[in-house]
């Protein structure tokens, strides 16, 4: 079976590197983007199996990216994990309203992210 492809969008280079490394180590192909616009473009061109999306992004915030993808019938089935340091209840509510499949608050316990990714991909295949 092919490796699953994950698009990781975050404006923090260090986050991209550490989290990306973790995902690769867990057996995924990782594509990264460092702003909202790039994230949306890569989501369309790379056709990832899953998107991990930071909320606070330059150029276009995570809500918008998520909303764009979820409104498009071609991409709406790609699971999206929202990823933020803004752990407010309102943020969580908004994220889920635009169609995010899961929501992880920064900072997180490293195993949580991988568990969530596995769960969503399994659900999508099933």
């Amino acid at each position: 079976m092919d490796k699953k492809k994950i698009l990781l969008v975050d404006d923090e280079e260090d986050v991209l590197k550490t989290v990306g490394f973790r995902l690769q180590a867990s057996g995924y192909d990782v594509v990264t983007a460092s702003d909202g616009k790039e994230g949306l473009e890569k989501a369309r061109s790379e056709k990832p199996d899953l998107v991990i999306l930071d909320l606070m992004l330059p150029k276009m915030d995570g809500y918008k990216v998520c909303a764009f993808l979820k409104k498009d019938t071609r991409y709406k089935d790609i699971p999206i994990i929202m990823f933020t340091a803004k752990a407010g209840d309102i943020d969580k509510k908004l994220g889920l309203e635009v169609g995010a499949d899961a929501y992880i608050m920064k900072p997180f316990e490293p195993p949580i992210l991988v568990e969530t990714v596995e769960k969503l991909l399994a659900k999508n295949n099933g």
Partner: protein
């Protein structure tokens, strides 16, 4: 209203009298009307039946007289000598040819009027045996006025007197009596002959031989006056009399007076087909318009002769005479009724007065009390509602009196008070006017102060907002680097990047633990800041507390078992759903269980849910070192660490219990700790069980 004027009002007696008067009047009026009606119909029937009976008797008498006469004539006519004479004539006329016979009859008739009965030319008729016999018969009996016999051709055979003509076959009676040999008895209507003053009735009957063949006829005119004698002499009361009418309804006989061509009534006015009956005739020309009470009876109830004759006997009496006694009776009864009313009305007034007297007494009492005589006693012993009323009235007076006393007392007190108050007001007014001048200056100062306070509060507000924004911003900014740090440390620590030595691992552990603590601290500060600023959103909905406890158990049990501790759940069954924010309560439970696990080295942690004193109560009990009494109040304060080292043991920030307290209090509950130092501690919180319908169905967009 003037007192005297009132005392003279005694209308109830009059009203009772009037009431009795009208009631009696109406009852008597109805009674009299009904009685009149009943008596009238009774009288009508009784007298009617009585009169009908009389009419019947009279009718029977007339019928029997006539029938008797007919029998007599039939007996006479059956004599053989009569028959012999008739047969001779029959033979003589029979011998003639048809046209000869006609000529004979015409010749006889034309000569008949001019010829005397004594004339020898008529001796053949007037002088024969039968004529002599008939003449003798007429002379002997008073009632037979004319008696003639014909042969079967209608020719005269014999007669008591000279007849008007010779040939009789053209007469009605003859045709009825002979009728081609099948004739019968004929009775003509009664005729009155004024010149002879005879009320005549014509009988005609066939004369037969033994074989039944009719050989001739005879005709008799009878003066019926004597038959009607009972009618003539009949009377009832002053106006009652009998009348006989013929088939045409014309009066034949009327109490001895012979009327001519007068009609008592049209038979069509009588009940159809009734042989007898009675009625009231309202307009009788015969009686000059006087109302008549009439009874009637048929003389011949069934047709017995060759022709139908319909005679009737009437008994007629003035209606006013018949019903006169009734009117008299009615007048008497009305007199009695009026007398009764005349007796009852004054009695009613007396009774009315009797009922009024106690009320009148009460009235006097009211007046006396109004005049101020509060001690006036009412003594009414009627043993009825009025006495009850009087008792209630007495009670009311006592109450009013008490109230009045109270009022007077209160009024006096009030006056005292008001006097004191006036004095104080005076003094205070003076003080105030003194102070007024100074006050003006003061006002300016106050306004200046107010301006300062307003500015200060504005500054404070913006400072607080900056603080909140700052806290929030700083926390967010701290989180992102922490993510990278944690991930980096983890990647090295869990061997993803390759193996590492014991000391490297130990120090990286320390680094990881402190990074975690920092992350928690940031979260707690954020939570607390949100709780304080009211920005924390609570999603309240009816929830199952035991479910929440089990969820916390699932996340905590691994950690507890790592320390060889057990978590025991004592969950009460049948706890209803309680309204709370599931995530927040789970957060509080997790904090309490986490603390308990961290602080206990040996033994177990018990989580209990129950309903106590109408509240949901959750207890988290540990078997750790316990808390000193003096430390109990400090527990829920911010950054309050009881003992150096506790923080390290619990990994707590010192904010967890403060946050828990805020969350529980936001639910309307309380949280506290109970402990004996050295014997473990219990952390207990309660949540009120309230129906919060407005919260039910509130948006619950996430579930932890």
């Amino acid at each position: 209203m003037d007192k005297k004027e009132r005392q003279h009002k005694t209308g109830v007696g009059k009203k009772v009298a009037l009431l009795i008067f009208f009631t009696t009047f109406i009852v008597l009026a109805i009674d009299l009307s009904v009685e009149y009606g009943l008596s009238f119909s009774l009288l009508h029937r009784t007298i009617g039946e009585n009169h009908v009976e009389i009419a019947n008797l009279l009718a029977v008498h007339i019928r029997e007289s006539i029938e008797e006469k007919i029998s007599e004539i039939i007996a006479l006519s059956s004599s053989p000598l009569w028959k012999k004479q008739i047969l001779e004539t029959n033979e003589k006329v029979g011998r003639m040819a048809q046209d000869e016979r006609a000529r004979y009859f015409a010749r006889m008739d034309s000569a008949w009027p001019g010829t005397s009965w004594d004339d020898p030319s008529l001796s053949e008729f007037a002088g024969n045996y039968l004529s002599i016999r008939l003449k003798a018969l007429c002379d002997d009996t008073k009632d037979i006025r004319e008696f003639l016999v014909t042969d079967k051709y209608g020719a005269l055979v014999a007669s008591s007197n000279k007849t008007t003509d010779f040939y009789q076959a053209d007469e009605e009676w003859w045709q009825k009596a002979y009728a081609d040999g099948k004739g019968g008895i004929f009775i003509n209507n009664i005729q009155y002959d004024e010149s002879s003053d005879v009320v005549g009735i014509t009988f005609a009957l066939p004369i037969r031989v033994d074989s039944g063949e009719i050989i001739g006829t005879c005709k008799v005119i009878i003066d019926t006056k004597s038959y009607f004698t009972p009618l003539a002499s009949f009377d009832i009361g002053k106006s009652g009399h009998a009348v006989l009418t013929d088939s045409e309804g014309l009066v034949i006989f009327h109490s001895g007076v012979i009327p001519v061509e007068q009609r008592l009534l049209n038979y069509s006015e009588l009940p159809k087909g009734a042989g007898s009956g009675h009625l009231i005739m309202y307009d009788s020309p015969f009686h000059r318009g006087k109302r008549q009470f009439i009874a009637f009876s048929d003389v011949f109830p069934s047709p017995v002769f060759g022709n139908d004759i319909d005679w009737k006997v009437f008994v007629s009496q003035d209606s006013s005479e018949v019903f006169g006694p009734l009117n008299t009776l009615m007048l008497q009864m009305i007199s009695v009724a009026l007398l009764l009313i005349a007796i009852i009305v004054p009695l009613g007034k007396v009774f009315g007065g009797y009922f009024v007297r106690p009320i009148h007494e009460l009235h006097i009492a009211t007046d006396r009390i109004l005049e101020g005589d509060w001690d006036y006693t009412i003594d009414i012993k009627t043993n009825d509602e009025i006495e009850q009323f009087a008792e209630a009235f007495k009670e009311m007076i006592v109450n009013i009196k008490n109230k009045q006393d109270d009022l007077i007392k209160a009024k006096n007190e009030l006056e005292e008070l008001s006097k004191g108050l006036e004095k104080r007001v005076e003094a205070r007014t003076k003080e105030l006017s003194d102070a007024q001048a100074a006050g003006l200056n003061l006002l300016e100062d106050i306004q200046e102060e107010k301006r300062k306070v307003e500015k200060y509060s504005k500054d404070l507000e913006s400072a607080l907002r900056i603080k909140a924004d700052f806290t929030s911003m700083v926390s967010h900014e701290l989180r992102t680097p922490l993510t990278a740090i944690k991930e980096g440390i983890s990647l090295v620590l869990d061997g993803t990047t390759g193996p590492l030595g014991k000391e490297q691992k130990e120090f990286l552990d320390i680094a990881k633990r402190n990074v975690d603590r920092l992350a928690r601290l940031i979260n707690d500060v954020l939570d607390l800041q949100k709780l304080e600023s009211g920005k924390m959103v609570f999603s309240l909905a009816p929830e199952d507390i035991n479910g929440a406890v089990r969820e916390v158990y699932d996340t905590m049990i691994t950690m507890a078992r790592d320390k060889a501790l057990d978590i025991v759940l004592e969950l009460s069954e049948g706890i209803p759903k309680v309204v709370f924010d599931r995530d927040k309560i789970i957060q509080v439970l997790a904090n309490l269980v986490n603390n308990a696990v961290k602080l206990t080295d040996k033994g177990r942690i018990t989580v209990r849910t129950e309903i106590k004193d109408g509240l949901l109560r959750v207890t988290v009990k540990d078997e750790g070192p316990g808390i000193r009494k003096e430390d109990l109040p400090k527990l829920f304060r911010r950054f309050e660490q009881l003992e150096k080292g506790t923080e390290r043991r619990t990994g707590g920030t010192g904010l967890v219990l403060a946050i828990s307290k805020d969350i529980i209090e936001r639910h309307g509950g309380t949280i506290w700790a109970e402990s004996e130092f050295g014997q473990g501690a219990s952390f207990i919180f309660t949540i009120p069980i309230v129906e919060r319908k407005e919260s039910y169905g509130e948006d619950r967009t996430y579930n932890g």
